[in-house]
């Protein structure tokens, strides 16, 4: 996958920063590691049947395992970002891969349910958190004009791998029993480590901050350093807060179809097989949407933020149309709307991450990604139970889909309040405000990108694509 230098050089005339070259190798690394994080997480359902049978616990207790894992991944994202800013991205990702594998290996020896929460949930979740955001930020830093396409290609791995992993995991569990299967999964997760090793080590720009030996003991200085690693200053900037709010609103509604589409289809009178097929079709168009939207966005005809608003509004509309289409009883209508929804939700995923550098500036992308993951995790936790609650009250899924769609539209409207929304070109990224001399505290790659004159620096939006 190593691209020759000629390709990046031919574009050097208009490229503002790195775009290709080693970036393609990193993209492959991101493809593999993202599939081993989210693709794996999505396919853990195969194990739940085994766990319920073996541990004789309720399905709800078992489902906490994956909830803990996802929550840990999102919660530790800022930690991963901070560690990358403070230390070496390569080491962080390799450590994350090792931890994720360790969690699964230890889980294979579990003798009670709590062991699974701690190993598969906490340790692996911590590992995943240390892998995902840094990997995405690194890829974004290595592409400029084709950033969104790269992200789209990278995130398509999630859908593709969950197609492949489901039968694979089933086979592993049948052949080796769940303990052996978890052990082998731990080994597979260990493949994240070479992916991390591919990240070229850069000189750490924040290292000078640690030179002041007397500041080590000073509490205030330590706090100030930590807050700069975590990019906490972002929380005080209106564009970032607005954007994060918008993404959080998306997340409330975004997952509802994944949770409830099958149940809703069954309720509308379709068979189990038909309902499952609708989900698969939506998943397939999701993958397509990610790649196509990435390619289209990079053509540069429109600002990324405008495209994001359009896709999100469309996705919201289609979610609201879902219950309407099945009311007529037509399977074809349900299929079409679901596929359109899948396409839009995939399309917005690529963009949502790509918009972040435009808002916070490329050098703060790492920290911005981490914080965004953390804040939007609350939305995911809210969305599922809320729609379930609405279904319990009203007796069908119409209300919950309507509410989910409206959250997406609300998020879209929030985006409109971003500064310079209606201008034709992107505004320049805000400078980081800090007491320390900022010229020394930049990632080398990111500093290079910043130093090149361009107003179309794609500010990658952080969006968790799952």
């Amino acid at each position: 996958m190593s691209k020759s230098k000629q390709r990046s050089e031919s574009k050097a005339g208009e490229a503002e920063g790195p775009d290709g070259g080693w970036g393609w190798v990193l993209l492959a690394a991101m493809f593999i590691s993202t599939s081993l994080v989210f693709g794996l997480m999505r396919s853990l359902g195969i194990f739940f049947v085994e766990f319920v049978h073996y541990f004789e616990e309720s399905a709800q207790a078992i489902s906490w395992i994956s909830s803990t894992g996802l929550a840990a991944q999102q919660f530790f994202s800022p930690l991963g970002a901070a560690l990358c800013n403070a230390y070496n991205t390569r080491m962080v990702v390799m450590t994350g891969g090792f931890l994720a594998a360790l969690g699964l290996i230890l889980a294979s020896q579990a003798t009670c349910l709590v062991h699974l929460y701690l190993t598969m949930g906490l340790i692996s979740g911590l590992g995943w958190g240390l892998v995902f955001s840094p990997m995405v930020a690194t890829v974004m830093a290595n592409f400029t004009r084709r950033r969104t396409l790269a992200l789209g290609l990278g995130f398509s791995s999630i859908g593709l791998s969950s197609f492949a992993f489901n039968p694979l995991f089933q086979l592993l569990v049948e052949t080796y029993a769940w303990r052996g299967a978890l052990l082998i999964l731990g080994g597979l997760s260990l493949n994240i480590v070479p992916c991390g090793a591919l990240i070229r080590t850069q000189q750490q720009s924040k290292a000078p901050e640690k030179v002041d030996s007397q500041s080590r003991s000073s509490c205030a200085d330590v706090l100030q350093r930590v807050s700069s690693y975590l990019e906490l200053s972002l929380l005080f900037e209106r564009p970032y807060v607005t954007y994060t709010l918008g993404i959080t609103l998306f997340n409330v509604g975004y997952f509802v179809p994944y949770f409830h589409l099958v149940a809703h289809s069954r309720l509308a009178g379709f068979s189990e097989y038909q309902a499952a097929f609708v989900m698969s079709a939506a998943g397939a168009t999701d993958i397509l949407g990610r790649i196509l939207s990435g390619w289209f966005s990079d053509l540069g005809h429109f600002r990324l933020i405008h495209l994001l608003s359009v896709w999100t509004a469309l996705a919201g509309v289609f979610i609201m149309l879902l219950p309407v289409s099945s009311l007529t009883g037509s399977y074809a209508a349900l299929m079409v709307i679901s596929m359109l929804y899948g396409f839009c939700s995939g399309a917005l995923t690529s963009l949502a991450f790509a918009v972040v550098p435009k808002i916070v500036g490329v050098e703060r992308t790492m920290g911005g990604l981490g914080l965004l993951q953390l804040i939007e995790s609350g939305a995911g936790l809210l969305g599922g139970p809320l729609s379930g609650f609405l279904k319990d009250i009203t007796g069908n899924y119409v209300a919950s889909f309507m509410v989910a769609g409206s959250f997406l539209l609300l998020g879209s409207l929030t985006m409109v309040t971003l500064p310079h929304y209606f201008s034709r070109t992107d505004p320049p990224p805000p400078q980081r405000r800090s007491l320390v001399d900022k010229s020394k505290s930049l990632h080398p790659e990111l500093q290079q990108m910043k130093s090149l004159p361009s107003d179309s620096n794609n500010q990658t939006a952080q969006h968790s694509g799952r």
Partner: protein, 271 residues
């Protein structure tokens, strides 16, 4: 004349006595046992209540299509095929005030099926095999056998056979749990057999015991592959470093700055 009055009074009183007894349903047949098909009939006699309709129920649930508003006192339900699914308790219900109903039992051989026909277990772990039964009446006895390849007589397993075996049985489900599975002793076919008053039915399960190390070999293979990849990547990078600057990185940084930073806590990639 007086005799005629006395006799008619006697008859009248007898008739009124008859009328005040409860309505009676005659079911033909009252029990269906070991048949392939049957026609269930209910005949409502001694009844002076108005019949507003009737229906049949199967195991408590109303059978669709049998609901009628006819005031017939004789109703029929035909069972074309008696299978474990269609066996059970059938009730004919006459919609009088109050309702009158009677039960007909449709009995059949039990149908025993294994939860999974192929079970796996890890060595020294516990392995569980389950069988469920459908049909009416549910088995009263469950027996487990171990079938050896060469033996013609299967071995009987009960709770006392060994302290490793545990059998838990309810009328519709039985589970055999073996603790501390051993590869030599426990691999093979097991038969669960359920018996009710009409007969016996059984099913076979194949138990496979994986050695604990079975998954270890693929795992070690993958770990070896990962170590090799990481080594190759590091070696490749070391060889490239003297030749060219890192791809796409800033020319602003020079080696001198990197050495300067070397003093700090940051970890180099050369370990």
């Amino acid at each position: 004349m007086k005799l005629l009055w006395a006799v008619s009074a006697l008859l009248l009183s007898c008739w009124r006595t008859n009328a005040s007894t409860a309505p009676n349903i005659i079911t033909v047949p009252s029990v269906v046992s070991n048949e392939t098909s049957a026609a269930l009939t209910c005949n409502l006699t001694d009844n002076n209540l108005q019949i507003k309709g009737s229906h049949w129920t199967h195991n408590g649930k109303i059978i669709e299509g049998t609901e009628s508003t006819d005031s017939a006192a004789w109703i029929l339900y035909s069972l074309d095929k008696i299978t474990p699914q269609t066996s059970g308790l059938y009730e004919c219900v006459f919609l009088t005030d109050p309702e009158v109903k009677k039960t007909i039992e449709v009995k059949t051989l039990p149908h025993v099926s294994a939860y999974k026909h192929s079970e796996h277990g890890n060595e020294n772990d516990k392995g569980a095999m389950s069988c469920v039964s459908h049909g009416y009446p549910l088995p009263t006895d469950w027996i487990w056998f171990k079938v050896e390849d060469d033996d013609s007589v299967p071995q009987l397993i009960s709770n006392g056979t060994s302290d490793r075996f545990e059998i838990k049985s309810t009328p519709n489900k039985t589970t055999l749990t073996i603790n501390e599975l051993s590869i030599e002793k426990d691999i093979g076919y097991y038969r669960c057999s359920g018996t009710n008053e009409l007969g016996t039915h059984s099913d076979k399960i194949h138990l496979r015991v994986r050695s604990r190390l079975a998954a270890l070999w693929p795992f070690l293979g993958i770990v070896a592959e990962v170590i090799i990849l990481v080594t190759i990547i590091f070696i490749y990078e070391k060889r490239r470093k003297p030749d060219e600057v890192n791809d796409g990185s800033a020319p602003l940084k020079s080696n001198s700055t990197s050495n300067h930073k070397d003093k700090n806590v940051r970890q180099r990639n050369s370990n």
